[in-house]
Structures are given as structure tokens and as C-alpha cells.
Symmetry: none
Subunit: 232 residues, 4 copies
């Protein structure tokens, strides 16, 4: 268990490191940064359609025309906010594929789940507002939907499928259809993130305990004290 934890911890930190390196590459003027920041805030507060460029300009402390020097249209501003975030979102999955040697760098499925949860929680915490915008707008922005399908389907899903299949062969995961396993797993993780960050952000959460509990649920279900006893 100690070894596992160390490995996970390491996996997690690598992921985060990769995220960070991706993000600060573009040089922006302070005004552009202010516009982007104001856009994130107002889009996430009111939704894209109900946000007005004049309010964004005001919050950013620039003239309204300045927004349109950097972004030709309001929609381009939206995409400039969300698209890079989507790239960062898949970064930890994509970058793994290079470097090679070990394609599944996790000791156990549990280790994977833990690293996954910790990483996603960290990501969601850092990009909370952008994620909100993303989730709100994906039904209405075909461009976003296409990017999402392409990225998630061709990167994340494939990668998670590989990992899951790997541990299925090792007997750590039940011999049921992988898509169902993944759906169930992702539901549980996202369910936690939503409760944690969106529904009850002010509750006094013990993240480590809740993550452990959620992993327990995913691995052994909620059905009772016998199983419980074995694992706690």
C-alpha cells in the first residue's frame, strides 16, 4: 500500500507538471489577459449568450473596441477561452503515449483510479470556471462539440480503454464490457467532482477520505459490511 501510494503520487505529479508546461507559452499583453479573464468570469456567470461584450470590456477595464482587436467576434473570444482548456484537458493522456516503455504506468487499477481522480480534481479545481463554460456551451457550439469528440474519443477514451483492458486481463477488473466499466467509472468521478465543486463547494470536505471511499465504491460497490471489512 505504501508503495502504491508513492507511485500514484508520482504519476499524479507528472500529470500536473505536464499541464503547467502547456499553458504559459503564449505571450499576451496585459489587456488581452484582462479580456480573457473577464470573459471567463462573465461567460461563466451569465452564460455565453447572455453575456455582453460591453460588460466584459468594463470588467476587463478596456474599451469595448479593444476586445475586437484581439478577437474578431464574441464567439472567437469564447473559443479562445475554451479550446486551449480542452487541449490542457487531454494533455496528461496524450503525452503519456510518448516516452513509451510502459504504456500503462500504474501498479494496479486502484492506483490508476486514484491518480485519475486526483488529477481530474486538481484540473477541475484550477479550471472550474472554464469547465463551466465548456459544459454550458458544448450543446450549442458545433465547433466545440467536434473538438471534444475528436479529442476525447480519439485520445482519452482509447487510452482509458487500453488501461482498463490491461487490468481486465490481469483479473483486477470484471469481465464485462469495457465501455460500461468506463461509463460507470467516469460517472462516479464526475459525480464526485460536481458534488465537491459545484453543488456543495462550501461543505467541509475531506478530499482524501472521499476519494478513498469513491474508489472503494467503484471497486467493490456499496453492498455491504463483508466486503467493506476486507478493504478497510
Amino acid at each position: 500500500m505504501q508503495k502504491n501510494k508513492a507511485a500514484e503520487q508520482q504519476g499524479q505529479e507528472e500529470w500536473i507538471a505536464e499541464l503547467l508546461t502547456l499553458s504559459e507559452e503564449q505571450k499576451m499583453t496585459p489587456k488581452q489577459l484582462a479580456i480573457l479573464q473577464a470573459g471567463i468570469e462573465i461567460f461563466s456567470e451569465k452564460g455565453y449568450a447572455a453575456a455582453s461584450t460591453s460588460e466584459i470590456a468594463q470588467r476587463a477595464g478596456v474599451a469595448e473596441g479593444t476586445i475586437f482587436r484581439y478577437y474578431k467576434t464574441k464567439k472567437e473570444l469564447l473559443l479562445s477561452i475554451v479550446s486551449p482548456a480542452m487541449a490542457k484537458m487531454i494533455a496528461p493522456f496524450v503525452l503519456r503515449n510518448f516516452g513509451g516503455v510502459l504504456d500503462v504506468p500504474f501498479e494496479s487499477y486502484e492506483a490508476f483510479l486514484r491518480a485519475f481522480m486526483v488529477n481530474r480534481l486538481e484540473f477541475a479545481r484550477k479550471n472550474f470556471k472554464i469547465l463551466r463554460i465548456f459544459v454550458q456551451e458544448i450543446p450549442f457550439q458545433p465547433v466545440l462539440r467536434e473538438q471534444f469528440i475528436e479529442n476525447v474519443m480519439n485520445n482519452i477514451l482509447e487510452r482509458v480503454t487500453n488501461i482498463t483492458d490491461h487490468f481486465k486481463e490481469k483479473g483486477e477488473v470484471a469481465g464485462v464490457p469495457t465501455p460500461s466499466i468506463i461509463r460507470f467509472t467516469i460517472s462516479s468521478v464526475i459525480g464526485y467532482l460536481l458534488a465537491r465543486l459545484l453543488l456543495m463547494p462550501d461543505k467541509d470536505w475531506d478530499d482524501e477520505a472521499e476519494i478513498n471511499l469513491t474508489i472503494e465504491f467503484m471497486l467493490h460497490g456499496i453492498s455491504g459490511p463483508a466486503i467493506r471489512r476486507e478493504n478497510q
Copy 2:
């Protein structure tokens, strides 16, 4: 098992019956109905803020002014669509509390989960567009959020908590914090609904098998063939 199934089946049908009785009480003119219907469609297609009342009027086949005879504002139209649906949403949980006698009318936790899933799937299927609107707008409409918190917190959550605690005492559910169990359970159910109805509605779904699998996951997790074998 057979007996269980019959019971669940019955439970489910009762719930549906209750839903129906709630809905047709208001008398509406055909125009008002057309407006409501058009509102549902256009709000769910474009989102509330991006939908225009003139388009709704056109789709409904009425004059623009007619909408405002029935609904003072565009927002009132939105609420007239979503609020009743929210009432219907909690109906199966609320009505139970009357009639009394048996507060937990399920043979087992598994029976409850199955009834719950079947019922929610049915409900989501029937009210898909309204649910979309609801989910889209709840972050931006305080009125909706209040209604939701009040209804869900004070009705559904309380009731589900009761049921869960009941089976926790019976030993069918693990002795961990009930809120975590509920969060996990609801995540799994909603995850299935989303995949089923929103993400991949065109896939060839075997609902019964997927529901069984999801219940298996919820009860015993994904951790492997040994546990699997015991339960199937």
C-alpha cells in the same frame, strides 16, 4: 428473484401512474399549448438566452403578442415550462409519503435501485427536452435553483436517505456515510441516463442488460470475476 422483479415492476408502474395524474390538470387553450410546445423545442435547441420569442411565436403559429397574453415575460414562459416538470420529477417520491403504512416499499436495496433507475429512465425519456432546458438554465435562474434545492433536498434526498438508512440497518448497504452512498448511486444512474439519452442516443442499447450491469456495479463494484460469480 422473480418475486423481486414483479414487485419492482409494480413499484415502477405506480410511479408512472402518479406522474400522469399530475400533469393534465390545467386547462389550456390550444394556442397556449402550442406556445408551450414551441417554447420547449426552441429553448432546448438554442438555449433560453439565444431563443427569441418571435421564433417561438412563429413555430407555435401564433402572433408575437399572443405569447405575452399568456406569459407576462419570456422568463415566465421558461418557468412555466420547467417548474411543472420539476413537480413531476419529485412526484413519485412525494406521493409515497401519503398513504403511509409502508415507508420503504422495496424488498431489497437492489429492488429499490432497479425501480429507481427504470423510473428515472422513463421520466427522462418522456421529458428529455424539458430536462435539457432545466439542466442548462439552473445555473442562471435563481428561482429554479431555489425550487430545486427545496424540492430535492427536502423531498427526494430525505426520502432516499430514509430508504438507504433502512437497508444499511438491514446490512444490505455498507456502513459508510449515507450522503456518499447517495452521491455515488445517483452519479451512476445519471451517468447512465446521460450516456443513454444524450451522448449516444443512436447506439443500439439493451436497456435491461445495462441496467442490470449498472446495478451490479453499484452493489459490488468492478473489481473482478470472483465477486461477480457470487452474485450472478
Copy 3:
């Protein structure tokens, strides 16, 4: 000469009659008429690009939004002003083709020239502002250019060519290329219209004398008293 004059007079009046019948067929609300009228004035005063819809609305005495109830765009308002005028412009030429019998209803080329000048002067006088807009915008509005080419090339030019060729055969017109004759003729007529209505509208014009003179020029040139004497 007396007979000629009568015939011309008659031809001219028919043309005018035809013009009038074409114009008042559409029913318009007073507001729409005011918008159209204001559009004509302001477009002709400032040019299309430099005219603002807000100024048009103000001059028309309506709200700015009202313009866009009747005309989806500013450009549509422009075309709604100019296109019908173009139809009216070719009306006297088009309608001739029906009724048949006599395709060239003029006693002499001189009679034709006189009827043509009188008719065009009348038309230009009545539609001065619209013609200004038309001339100003035709280089920049492909739609206008297409309409103009189609109408003028396929209707007016063909018709005038027929008439000219007719009198060429009769020996009233020199045996030189018809296009050159037409170009020269139209230049002279338009030159008069421009001087008369645009360049020096305030001069004290004797239209009949100037028209006679211009016809003299077209028929016999400016070269001297001998020729002059023969014809006056």
C-alpha cells in the same frame, strides 16, 4: 411638321401613362412610405454608404427598429428604392412590344428623338433623386449592375437598335455602325439632362428650344449656317 408634333405628343403621353400605371400598385403603410421617402432623400444627399439608418428613421419620423421591420437590411432598403425605378425606367420600351402592329411607331427619326428626349426628361425630372442614387451606386452594387445590364441590354438597346436600323434603311440615318449612332445619341440626350437637372438646375431653361437645338445637333451637327438654314 404639325402632324409630326401631334404624333410625338401622343407617343410621349402614352409613355407617361404607362409609367404611372406601373408605380402605385403596391399598398404601403404610411410609415413604410415615410421610410422609403426618407431613404430616397438621405441616400441621394449623402450617398448610400455615408447615410445612416438612424438619420433615415429620424427623417421618416419612425423608430430605427421600424425600418428593419420593413427592410431586413439597409441594402434591402436601397434596392427597394432603386429596383422599382429601374423597372419604370424601361417600361415605355418594354410595353411597346405588346400590341404589335407597328413596331416602330414613329413617323421619322426626328420624331423618335423628340419623343425620346421629352420622355426621358420627364422621367428624370420625376425620379431625379432616385436616379442620382442609382448612378452613384451602380458601380458598387453588383445586384444593380446585373439588373441594369439585363434590362438595358436586352430591352432598351435592342429596341433602340431596331428603330435606328429602320430609319437607316429609310435613308434618314447615316450608314455608319448603329452602336456608334446610339452612343452618340444617348450621350447628347443624357448630356442635356445632366446640364438641365444636375449642373445648372436654376438656370432659366427654355426646354422646347433646347430640345429642338439638341435634335438639330444630333441630326445635322454643329458645322455651319448652310445646313442650319435648310432646316430652320
Copy 4:
């Protein structure tokens, strides 16, 4: 006839020479020249009001601000394009008045007309785009209009009046009001230029023949073979 031709040819070339000497007097930086050139192109393509200074800057390959170093306003750029061209336009007429001796340096009115046409065609060909801008903008720019009236009325018209009166006395031109003669003459010339350069620039023109024909028209009209025969 041979002699005439030589004289005209000479007259024409003198005029052109005068034009050239006028033009290269101002010293301009390459950037300013580029701005001027880009201004000419874009103003003539889109019209003054619809042209944007940013597009001009782009086409000129300079920064937006640079335009305003050389020309305080967009309108000043316009005038800097059109005004010098207007000066060049009247140059051949103005300069004649100096040097004196012979105020009417043409053997015949026909020689004058030919020299006039050839010269104007040459001028229009070389300054086509600027002339377009000039014609488009003169209705909307009082400054231009004043310059034009002053120059044309006080220089060209006076001079052409002198020439025409001279040949009227000699009996080469009919004894009708000079303004009408000039109007008619200029209409015919401009009509040719427009057809030649604007309406059908791609047609295969035989300029010499068309000019001869136009002069024929101006001198003897279009009225028939008898007159024709006398003059050809």
C-alpha cells in the same frame, strides 16, 4: 487634311508635355507614395465612404498611424488625391493663355475637336481611377465642387468658349448659342470616353475610327448619306 493632322498631333503632344511637367514637383517619401497609390485604388474600388483607412494602410504596407502623419484626416487624403488631378485636368487649357501670340492654335474647329478628344482620352486613360473617385465624390464634397466650378467655369469653359466663338465667326460653327454647342460637344466627347473606358473597356476598339466618327457626328450629325458623302 495632312497638314491638319500634323498640327493636331503637335498640339496634342504639347499638352501632354505640360501635363507631365506639372506632376512630379512634390517630393514624397516612398511610404507617402504608397499611401497615395493605395488610396487611389481603394477609393475607386469601394467609394470614399465605404473605404477604410485600415485597408488603405494594409494595401500600402504601412501602419495605420502612418497615414495620419501625412494626412490629418481621411478626407484630406481624398483631396490630396483628387485636387492635383483636377489641376492636371485643366493644365492644357490654362497654360495656353501664357505665351500669348496665337490664342487659338488650331487650324480648324475639326482640328480643335480632334486634339481635344485625343487629349482627353489620353488623360482619362492615365487617370482613370482618380477620375472615378472624382466623379463619385464631387456630389458629396463641397470643397471639390467649389474647386471644380472655379477651375472649369473660369478656365476651361472660358477658353473653349473663346475657341468656339472664334470659329463661329469664321463660319465653321453654326450661329446658335455657344453654351449649347459646348454642352453638346462635351457630351459627345465624354459619352465616348465613358463607353470606351468604363462601360465596355474590353471591346476591341478602333480609337482612330471612333474618334473620326464622333467628330463627324459632332460636325454634321447623323442624318444621312448625302451629307456623309460630302465629307468623307
